[in-house]
């Protein structure tokens, strides 16, 4: 079962291409404010994350995901309830 600590580095890997060159990513990095993701990019990102972790992410959780850390916690929960 993937845990928060193992999910985080995979999220960094997926998100790195969306950041500015050399931008450091952390649990506190905000998806919209820091990475400047628009709604379309968020949808693309969801598909990529779903593929990577073999989960379906309900749209309902999107408003609760502000930081990369939030995202990793939601993924962890979805994998636990699979």
């Amino acid at each position: 079962m993937a845990r928060y600590e193992t999910i985080l580095p995979q999220l960094y890997e997926i998100l790195r291409p969306h950041g500015q060159d050399g931008q450091a990513l952390s649990e506190e990095t905000e998806l919209v404010a820091d990475l400047d993701l628009d709604s379309l990019k968020v949808m693309e990102l969801l598909l990529e994350v779903e593929e990577r972790f073999d989960i379906s992410i309900p749209l309902n959780i999107v408003p609760d995901v502000r930081t990369i850390g939030d995202f990793a916690r939601q993924i962890e929960q979805l994998m636990e309830h699979r």
Partner: protein, 395 residues
């Protein structure tokens, strides 16, 4: 001041748009000349973006039925059916729609938007799952949000993706509603319904199909994509609208599930909205009779749709994947679409402009909708206007 601050972004976007374009939200139809022609913003215009698929908005039988209803029953119902009672026309239309689809139950709503809102939000609730095609209409998304169910998107018309997501849900499929559209409103493509219906059966889920753009357009009797695909028995709920092929305003849902009759008691968009006006119900009933008895309307519609699709394809326009009465010309960026839309308007052709993020894949569209009432000459004039636009903007 803070309450209204969020509108600043909209105002800026509109200001930027109207610097380079006529305001698409201020297109004013000043005078209608026929189902396919009007005076728009002071200019004579071919209407090629109105969803008037069977061209019945000026049908003499529909107009007479509406006029008689106004004279006999007045201009409005002034309240909801729950509080103020049914007009006999509401019940008659529900019976006729149920008969048309060969279903036991039908609920009529005041608009197609409310039909999706009302049915989806009553059917699914907390603990349930809704699987929606990514390209579904905003009314479906809004109904899903209102339901409180878990909302999961599957890739547009990608049945392998749908299968994967159903498999992940496992036993929860019994509480899952799959939603697709007969013809998708943006690109005019059909649902992969044979495969979707098979997946629905295999996993034991429910299936709701929105036939808003396919009623009167597809199927031998005009019942839509589910009839054309031969899978009507697998579709639990069919939602439709009166505002396209039937030339009025309103919506409905038909089903064989007896719970359909109870949905009207559990659906806020049904309970708390004024019921459709007698004139609207009367013209819709007349239009449904025309749709049922005159398949030649569909033949004319498809001849026109293929004529325009083929002409635009020959011009090298990037179109939706298959001919249909919705013909979407795709553009990468919004600027080119805006320029082309304005040029078409100058030449007397009105189509719909769809800008990001409303269009699929972040692109832009000019969307034509073809009518059985268009003449071949009008179709050719639309194609000719696109030809001049292509020459100007996409050498």
């Amino acid at each position: 001041m803070a309450l209204l601050k969020k509108f600043r972004q909209l105002a800026d976007a509109r200001k930027a748009l109207t610097k380079v374009s006529e305001d698409p939200f201020r297109v004013t139809i000043e005078r209608l000349l026929s189902p396919t022609e009007a005076v728009v913003n002071g200019r004579p215009m071919i209407l090629a973006g109105t969803n008037n698929y069977l061209g019945l908005t000026f049908d003499p039988q529909c107009i007479e039925a509406a006029a008689r209803a106004v004279r006999e029953q007045g201009t409005g119902t002034t309240g909801s059916r729950m509080a103020n009672g049914n007009f006999i026309g509401h019940l008659a239309l529900e019976k006729e729609l149920a008969e048309f689809y060969g279903r036991r139950w039908c609920d009529v709503f005041s608009t197609g938007y409310l039909a999706n809102l009302g049915v989806i939000s009553a059917l699914a609730g907390q603990g349930d799952v809704i699987l929606i095609d990514a390209d579904c209409h905003a009314s479906i998304y809004d109904g899903c949000r209102m339901s409180g169910a878990e909302i999961i998107r599957f890739r547009h018309n990608d049945t392998a993706d749908l299968h994967k997501r159903l498999t992940r849900l496992g036993k929860r499929c019994a509480n899952t509603l799959i939603i697709a559209e007969g013809i998708y409103s943006m690109l005019g493509d059909r649902a992969a319904l044979v495969e979707i219906a098979a997946l629905k059966q295999e996993h034991g889920a429910y299936l709701l199909l929105d036939e808003a753009h396919s009623l009167g357009v597809l199927g031998e009797r005009g019942r839509g994509r589910s009839e054309e695909a031969g899978v009507e028995d697998s579709v639990d709920f069919i939602v439709g609208t009166f505002s396209k092929s039937l030339g009025a305003t309103g919506g409905f849902c038909v089903s064989d599930h007896p719970e359909m009759e109870l949905i009207r008691y559990a659906s806020r968009p049904y309970i708390f909205t004024a019921s459709p006006c007698p004139s609207v119900i009367a013209s819709t009933r007349a239009a449904l009779r025309r749709l049922r008895t005159e398949p030649e309307l569909r033949l004319r519609l498809w001849a026109n749709a293929r004529r325009l699709y083929d002409s635009l394809k020959e011009l090298g326009c990037r179109l939706g994947p298959e001919p249909s009465p919705i013909i979407a010309v795709r553009f990468g960026g919004g600027e080119e679409a805006i320029a082309c839309w304005n040029s078409l308007l100058q030449q007397g052709v009105y189509v719909n402009m769809i800008l990001p993020p409303a269009a699929p894949d972040g692109g832009s569209l000019l969307r034509c909708s073809v009518s059985a009432a268009h003449t071949p000459d009008q179709i050719d004039r639309v194609a000719k206007a696109f030809a001049s636009v292509k020459a100007t903007f996409s050498p």
